[in-house]
């Protein structure tokens, strides 16, 4: 053992038989199984572990838990690189390679520590002033320098190769925190018969008990209760798991670390995000010790007293041989005593004039020197502390030391209890905030509730466990746990007002916010704590100000001459500790990001050169590569094929709804703007639905299968909305109607055969079925069977050609598709995609999604005659409101490009010729296509009704491409207005 090893020869909760090799900034070091990275670094006498955010000041290990502001490291390389990890929470693992952050070229010699000299420029409100004020231009110049200079670790840019997982979990009682209160609560709830989840962020259970000496009663109590809990079948012990958020409905967000810790767990996910749904919650999250504010209080070697005690007793590391313990309360005296017992030379500087006599007696017994009414005035040592100046009421003394332990009292860890909006409340007797009035399903126990004495925490935990179980209806009698009285009494609070002097006195170590910054914010009027936070960035680091919050409030309260409750506390929001996005995503990455919907013919499309397009969740053929080199060439070729011969299109994505019941016709009469009651059996009708406000909702075709039964189709996009709407009306408005609506979208494979040769083709493919014009006229239905599957042929046209929609049981979809293609091959039948489909309907002037955009009425779309004088349907009354009748409302028009060699673009804004091109114009182009039939670009648009005179020329402006093209207003039906092609 060399002289730089601070590990004690015995004790602690480490396994000396299992050494662990790791590196820090490339240097090989050794620790033990059971260490954290921080404890192993301390054991190896590494005092300087990082550089601060703005000033690049040297920083050391400050705490022993997730509140750590300073000792942030980066682990891993490439896609596994993870920055800003507190060394105090990292379970040491073999081969761990940690890097310090925010230093260049090296940790010991950091060029940018001269930032400290520029400190006045980096003070509170720096960003606000720079962005908002006259220095904005200078920002452009300095940005690069500042961005390089200020910051923490750098994130990786490669894809993370590791697996993450999301899990859904359930329990009766969730206990957050595995310290004495939490262990006791979990035991009580489990005994009462509840399913319990005990959540502990550490890899060991015990909380503050782990910082007590291992030969005392605490260790025995802990071993007993932990064994008892592990024996319960109804208790899940979740170590290494942080409850980072509390959400409505008793939902907790938990993140568990596993993958990079234990080599035995190779192949398991690196992190697991658990959504735990709990009936009741016990918060036993403990408390965090507060630092003291004095000049250069951030120097490596300054550490929380509780942390020093944890390193000593839990990890068998003596962090200093000559220790000054600067405190304001009783609890930190015990750290002083333990350090003295372990062989350190200890001086206690208690700010209180008269500490309790039993403390003074114990100090005398252990040879601890005591200075009362004393505070630290000055720290000496550049990269680590080597002496302090203690200022008493009358005297001042320099004391050489290698460790300064500080304690300004404790702050209950109330964060999670306020995630649902419950503000913490101030309790004067502990000078701290405890959880406010929580919902009936939430309970607190232990230090989080100001119950700092271990005996009290154990009892309160038991009570909370019993009550939480009882809330879930589990109330078998529970025997009280063994008593654990560590005589750790609570002292009267004594707040340190903080001290000024030369050198920076830090409040928020991670964000480099000093007392002077808070004073500046106060002078400039940012007194509210929420303003203070945003102006100074206080509490906005990755530690979220766990150690700084109270000191900042106290400083602001003092400046405003206000009390702490008057000053208030900032809102705590999730996450409590940082959570990797990967953990939240779990397996929903790559092709699992969202579930895709595939039609029954999907595989055929892929195997036959279809370029697929995501349409909502659906995958649809966009165009077929056989038709042309790119989409523009292909869709025009596919359109020509449909106009001249025939094309086959997969339309299985259409929404399909089965509507049945004695009142089905009445129901459809009410939901469609046009009537359906008189639709004969075997006939189909195009229908438009409105919303209650009179705007068009969706369109589709509904066919009467029998007296009581209809087959409705909807647009692909609105299928789910339409079904929900129909169910809403039946459940809430017209429950007296006997109608059942069921989605049958997945039930049917659907294909459209369109083109002049479609009938020839169909009769060739289905020889047993009469598809003549007499048997199957336009807008009619034929029901049959094909290969034992139901078959429906509807004669409908979207393209304007003679066309049929063929529906067959989904399992036979691909078979019928290939059968039709084979039968149609001699007639030139080929498949076409959605691009051509969209273009064909523009030629025919059919409206679709771009026109039915949630703003247009029936009249706007030129469909007013469909409703005629009908009344009593959804949207009927409000569609007739005066505003919808205004002459300048945008109405559907057709547009054709009148400039040779130019094209129209969807989204272009329409202006009158000669008008200034500014503002919103008088309308816009909604859909465009090149029309092979007309040999030019055409489009549909919405244009002011009072200006929309057919034959008028307008200017279509497309500012994104700086284009202005003349277009002529024409009828929206470009092709066959009489409908000769689709009839006969």
């Amino acid at each position: 053992m060399n002289s730089r090893n601070k590990r004690l020869p015995s004790g602690g909760r480490i396994d000396r038989a299992r050494p662990v090799d790791f590196t820090f900034d490339g240097k090989k070091l050794c620790g033990f199984h059971g260490d954290t990275l921080a404890s192993a670094l301390l054991a190896n006498d590494v005092a300087l572990v990082g550089r601060s955010f703005k000033y690049h000041r040297p920083r050391g290990i400050f705490s022993a838990g997730p509140e750590e502001p300073n000792a942030l490291v980066t682990l891993g390389t490439g896609g596994r690189r993870e920055p800003n990890l507190p060394a105090t929470t990292l379970e040491l693992a073999d081969g761990m390679a940690a890097e310090s952050q925010n230093r260049w070229p090296s940790l010991g010699f950091d060029i940018q520590s001269v930032n400290g000299l520029f400190a006045p420029f980096l003070s509170a409100g720096f960003y606000y002033k720079t962005f908002m004020g006259p220095t904005r231009r200078a920002w452009m110049f300095y940005e690069h320098f500042i961005r390089r200079a200020a910051g923490l670790g750098r994130a990786g840019v490669d894809a993370d190769p590791d697996q993450y997982e999301v899990r859904h979990a359930f329990c009766d009682v969730a206990v957050i925190g595995g310290g004495p209160a939490g262990l006791s609560a979990a035991r009580a709830a489990a005994t009462a018969g509840a399913r319990v989840a005990l959540i502990e962020q550490d890899f060991l259970f015990g909380g503050q008990l782990l910082s007590k000496r291992t030969d005392g009663g605490a260790a025995a109590w802990l071993a007993t209760i932990e064994a008892e809990l592990r024996g319960f079948e109804n208790v899940t012990m979740m170590a290494r798991t942080t409850a980072f958020g509390v959400y409505d409905g008793g939902v907790l967000g938990l993140v568990g670390q596993q993958g990079n810790v234990d080599p035995d767990r190779a192949g398991s996910p690196r992190q697991v995000f658990t959504m735990l749904r709990a009936c009741s919650i016990v918060f036993a999250a403990g408390a965090i010790e507060r630092p003291l504010v004095f000049p250069d209080n951030d120097r490596p070697g300054v550490m929380l007293a509780s942390a020093a005690r944890a390193y000593l007793n839990r990890f068998a590391v003596l962090p200093g041989k000559r220790v000054v313990v600067a405190i304001t309360n009783d609890s930190a005296w015990r750290a002083a005593f333990d350090l003295a017992v372990a062989g350190a030379e200890v001086t206690v500087a208690d700010l209180r004039p008269v500490p309790a006599s039993y403390l003074l007696a114990e100090a005398a017994r252990l040879g601890v020197s005591v200075r009362t009414g004393a505070r630290i005035a000055r720290i000496r040592g550049a990269h680590r502390v080597n002496a302090v100046t203690l200022a008493g009421p009358k005297t001042q003394a320099d004391i050489a030391c290698d460790l300064v332990c500080v304690s300004g009292g404790w702050s209950p860890t109330v964060h999670l209890t306020s995630h649902l909006g419950v503000r913490p409340i101030y309790r004067g007797d502990i000078d701290g905030f405890i959880p406010g009035a929580l919902p009936a399903s939430q309970f607190v126990a232990g230090s989080i509730a100001g119950q700092y004495a271990t005996a009290e925490a154990v009892e309160a935990g038991h009570r909370a466990g019993v009550e939480a179980a009882s809330f879930c209806g589990k109330s078998k009698p529970a025997r009280a746990p063994a008593k654990l009285d560590l005589r750790d009494t609570v002292s009267t609070p004594f707040r340190d007002p903080g001290s000024a002097g030369r050198g920076k006195a830090f409040v928020d170590f991670q964000m480099d916010v000093t007392v002077a910054d808070i004073a500046l914010a106060h002078r400039e009027g940012y007194e509210s704590v929420e303003h203070l936070k945003r102006y100074t960035t206080l509490g906005m680091g990755t530690d979220q100000g766990k150690t700084s919050n109270f000191s900042a409030l106290a400083a602001m309260a003092a400046l405003c001459d206000a009390t702490i409750p008057e000053t208030g506390v900032t809102a705590f929001r999730p996450p409590y500790t940082p959570v990797a996005i990967g953990a939240l995503a779990g397996r929903a990455v790559g092709h699992h990001f969202k579930p895709f919907r595939r039609t029954p013919m999907h595989d055929w499309h892929q195997a036959n050169g279809a370029e697929m397009l995501e349409v909502g969740l659906w995958m649809r053929p966009w165009f077929y590569r056989n038709s042309g080199r790119d989409v523009n060439e292909a869709y025009v070729a596919e359109m020509r094929m449909v106009r001249e011969a025939a094309g086959l299109m997969d339309i299985s994505t259409l929404g399909k709804i089965d509507v049945q019941g004695p009142d089905a016709a009445i129901f459809l009469d009410r939901v469609y703007a046009n009537g359906f009651a008189k639709l004969p059996v075997g006939r189909a009708r195009y229908g438009v639905m409105l919303r209650d406000d009179g705007i068009v909702f969706d369109d589709g075709t509904t066919t009467r299968l029998s007296e009581n039964s209809f087959f409705m189709t909807t647009s692909t996009a609105k299928a789910a909305d339409v079904l929900s709407r129909l169910e809403f009306l039946l459940d809430t408005a017209w429950p007296e109607l006997r109608v059942a609506v069921t989605s049958v979208s997945d039930e049917w494979a659907a294909m459209s055969i369109a083109g002049p040769k479609s009938r020839d083709l169909l009769s060739a493919a289905l020889p047993g079925i009469d598809v003549s014009n007499e048997a199957l006229p336009h807008m009619s239905l034929l029901e049959s069977a094909w290969q034992g599957k139901s078959l429906r042929i509807l004669r409908l046209s979207y393209s304007g050609e003679r066309a049929y929609e063929v529906y067959v049981g989904a399992s036979a979809g691909e078979r019928l598709w290939t059968h039709l293609l084979a039968a149609g091959e001699p007639l030139g039948l080929k498949p076409y995609g959605v691009e051509a489909l969209g273009a064909l309907r523009v030629e025919k002037g059919h409206v679709a999604g771009p026109e039915i955009d949630g703003r247009t009425t029936l009249d706007d779309l030129g469909l007013g005659r469909m409703a005629g004088k009908r009344t009593g349907f959804v949207g009927d009354v409000l569609r007739r409101r005066p505003a919808f009748q205004a002459a300048d409302r945008h109405r559907l028009v057709g547009l054709e490009c009148v400039e040779e060699g130019q094209r129209l673009r969807g989204g272009a804004i329409l202006f009158k010729l000669g008008e200034a091109i500014q503002g919103h114009g008088h309308g816009r182009i909604t859909s465009v296509t090149y029309s092979p039939t007309l040999g030019k670009y055409i489009g549909l648009g919405l244009f002011a009704g009072d200006l929309a005179i057919e034959g008028t020329e307008v200017l279509a402006a497309y500012p994104m491409k700086k284009e202005q093209v003349r277009a002529r207003i024409v009828s929206p039906v470009f092709l066959d207005p009489e409908g000769k092609r689709l009839r006969g």
């Binding site: 409905g249 939902v251 909006g421 919902p439 809403f728 809430t732 017209w734 429950p735 009593g872 409101r881």
Partner: protein
């Protein structure tokens, strides 16, 4: 996340449901010709602080439309019932 206790399916995450707006409004009869009645139903909606009756549909479950009494301040749900009076 809200957890809504569907009367027939039990407690579920809110992402199984679709929101349907204020349930305290009375929809005019389908053939009510009075614009004022429809205007009030469609546009005049309260945004109360406190208890609120609202429609939710259990979309990925039983597909029933429900009336949920939710406190808008705390998201605590006081009751859930079927919108249809006699669902059987």
């Amino acid at each position: 996340m809200l957890r809504i206790e569907c009367p027939c399916c039990g407690p579920r995450d809110h992402d199984e449901f679709r929101y349907g707006g204020d349930a305290s409004l009375v929809r005019p009869a389908h053939d009510d010709p009075v614009p004022e009645a429809w205007y009030r139903y469609v546009y005049v909606r309260k945004n109360p602080v406190g208890p609120h009756r609202e429609f939710w549909q259990h979309v990925t479950g039983c597909r029933q439309w429900l009336v949920v009494e939710r406190d808008t301040r705390t998201h605590l749900i006081a009751s859930v019932s079927f919108a249809r009076k006699s669902p059987a």
